[in-house]
Each structure stands twice: as C-alpha cells, then as structure tokens.
Subunit: 208 residues, 2 copies
C-alpha cells in the first residue's frame, strides 16, 4: 500500500478492489487512533486521504459488479461482496470521524492521548539512527513483525507518509516509524533502531 | 477481554468504557473477516455479541459523560470522547454487517473466503497438540506475538470462544487458535503448536 508510489489507480477487478478495501479497513482504524495519540495532523490527513479513496473504490466496485453479473447466481455472489465493501467503507468513515477531533483546539481534548496510551497494545514512534543495523534493509528481509512482535503501521520519510508499508520497503536513516505492539516488543525494536543491538542473523535454511 | 469470564458488567468510568470500546473496535474487524474466512457461525455470534455490547457501552458512556460534566471545559472534552465512542460503535456495526453475510446459503458466497485468504496478512487456524511445548503456558510468558509475529485473534476451547485472549491465558491441549500474520510466522507457530519444535528459552535478564 502507500499512495506515495503513484497507486491512485483503481484496481481492475471486483476482487482486487475488495482486497484493497478490506486491507484498508484494517489499517485505517489503527491509523486513526495513532493520529490522536500523536496529535498528528499529517497522520489525520492520511486517514482522510484513505477515506476519500474508499469512497472512490466503493463507487467503482458497484459499477464493476453490475457489469459483471450475468446470471442470478453471479448477482447473488456479487451482492455479498458489495455488502463487505460497504462495511469496509463505513469503517473508514468512522475512522475519519475519529481524526476529525483534531480540528478542535488541543486544550479541548487533552486527556484523550494519555489514556489511549494505556491500551494493552500501544502505539509508539521511533526514529531510525544513522548507525542502526536496520538502515538499508527491507522490512520483509528483517521480518520485523516476526522478530519483535511490533507491527509498522506507518512510516514517515522527510515530509512523506507511507501507511502500512510493504515488506519490500527499504528503511533509511532518519525514518520515523509508527509502530504498534507491547511494551516488551517496543524495547526490543528500539534497541535495534538505535543501533545498540545488531539485527539477529539466523543460519540460512533454504535458498531465497 | 473475553466474555467467558463473566465480564458483562459495564466499566465504571468514562475512561474505562472508552478504552474497552477502542480495544473492541480494533479486534472486531479482524474477527468479522475471520468469521467469513472460516465460514464460522460461532465466530459470527461472537461478533454479534460484541456489537450488542458496544451498544450498551455507548449508551452508558453517554449517561456517565453527562453526569460528570461540571464546566464548559469538561463538556468540551467529554464531547470529544463521545465522538470516539460513537465511531467505535459504528465500526462494530460495520463488522456486524460483514458477518450477516453468513446468514445466506454458502453457495451464494463461495469465492469470498478464497480471496480473503489472499490478503498479505492471513487469518488461519491451528490446534494445539497434546505434546506441544505451548500447553500449560500462558500467552504472555511465551510472548507469542514477539516470538512469531502471529497475533492470536481468538481461541476456542471445547465449545467456548474467547476473542482477543489475555496474556495471562494459559493454553491447553486441543485449543483451537485463530491467528493472523504472515505465512512465515504461521509456519513457525505451527511447528511449536504441533510439538515439532520446542518453544525457545532465553537467558533471564532480570527478575519477573
């Protein structure tokens, strides 16, 4: 995902549109709460961008569904897909409502971030140090989530945000990572990101 | 979480109700898609149970918010919390719409589970073998998510479902785990759950 890679085109098939809508509906809720926790207008804008994209996807999936229904059975199956698509879009609208709170002055919503930080899985941020072993490696090759249990929700490089970054995304020094997981997992990840610990190497079992 | 532990009471404070609503809104979306993937009426019922609970929580948080607003500033802050609560409840309604699809005959929604399995992070299930090293240990003490990157969305023991099980939940032989994560993480977890591999032991750094 990540709209930085010019992926503003709508996927071609009903199936691919719905897959994107499902994935977005899962990440957008995390992202909306993260925007509140970090009081981040930029993350809120990402949520709003996704919300608008979900509108477009919903419109397109409806058209494609109608054009591809040839029999009653097709139509019944497609109606089910449209129901999921509508629900995914409703989730993104709710996420948009959450970030709308950031429009208000921060003194009118002061204790919100504090208690959101108390959930079991916390949303935190860290910056990749120049000397970190994670620099110039991809998220997938490191297996960040398998190794630390921390999920990278979003990444900020310079002024650019990428949400739900792809496994083939190569990290750079100075990247700001927004991550979600337990306190323990965060401490492990922080030790790698700061360069205090080297990323573990395992014996290679099979090629690739 | 998990309503099996008699936790049907509504938390006492606005803050605690909202924390539960936020946590539920994050897990219910996963759970709804999982119910479709596994064509599971029981998981769908869990989603519906959570959806009803969210209604009750929303009603209660509104009452408590009104009773606790003493000044204009209180009211402004509480209005923000209610906005988040409403959004969380809207998310749970959308999750309910997703599982409503299971009401239809399965031949009217056949390719839905198949392509949901193609998302980057997959939802899968596995059963804990008698001889698995994970039996009789808690999710937290093993650090299942840190170790494998797999998140346990739900657990079925006998006829009972627990969603988003707590870290202090002790696993038993025969437990069915519904997990979410990458293919690699799943293979690692499966090798532990089957008893083919022992759960790794690390030198203890500090007490507790």
């Amino acid at each position: 995902m990540g709209h930085e890679d010019g992926k503003d085109k709508v996927p071609r098939t009903v199936r691919d549109i719905l897959t994107e809508m499902k994935d977005t509906s899962e990440v957008i809720v995390d992202l909306a709460y993260a925007a509140l926790v970090f009081d981040s207008q930029e993350m809120a804008e990402e949520v709003q961008h996704l919300e608008r994209r979900m509108d477009i996807l919903l419109y397109n999936i409806r058209i494609k569904a109608m054009l591809s229904a040839r029999t009653k059975r097709d139509a019944e199956q497609l109606a089910g897909l449209l129901q999921v698509a509508s629900a995914a879009e409703a989730i993104s609208n709710a996420a948009g409502d959450i970030v709308n709170l950031l429009k208000y002055d921060s003194d009118k919503r002061p204790f919100l971030p504090i208690f959101l930080k108390e959930a079991e899985e916390k949303i935190k941020s860290l910056t990749l140090a120049e000397k970190s072993d994670m620099v110039n490696r991809t998220i997938g090759e490191m297996g960040v989530e398998s190794e630390t249990g921390m999920r990278i929700i979003a990444l900020k490089r310079g002024k650019r945000w990428m949400y739900d970054p792809e496994p083939n995304n190569r990290l750079k020094a100075g990247d700001l990572l927004i991550v979600r997981g337990t306190d323990n997992g965060f401490e492990v990840l922080r030790s790698f990101a700061s360069g205090d610990r080297l990323w573990p190497q395992y014996p290679v079992k099979e090629a690739g």
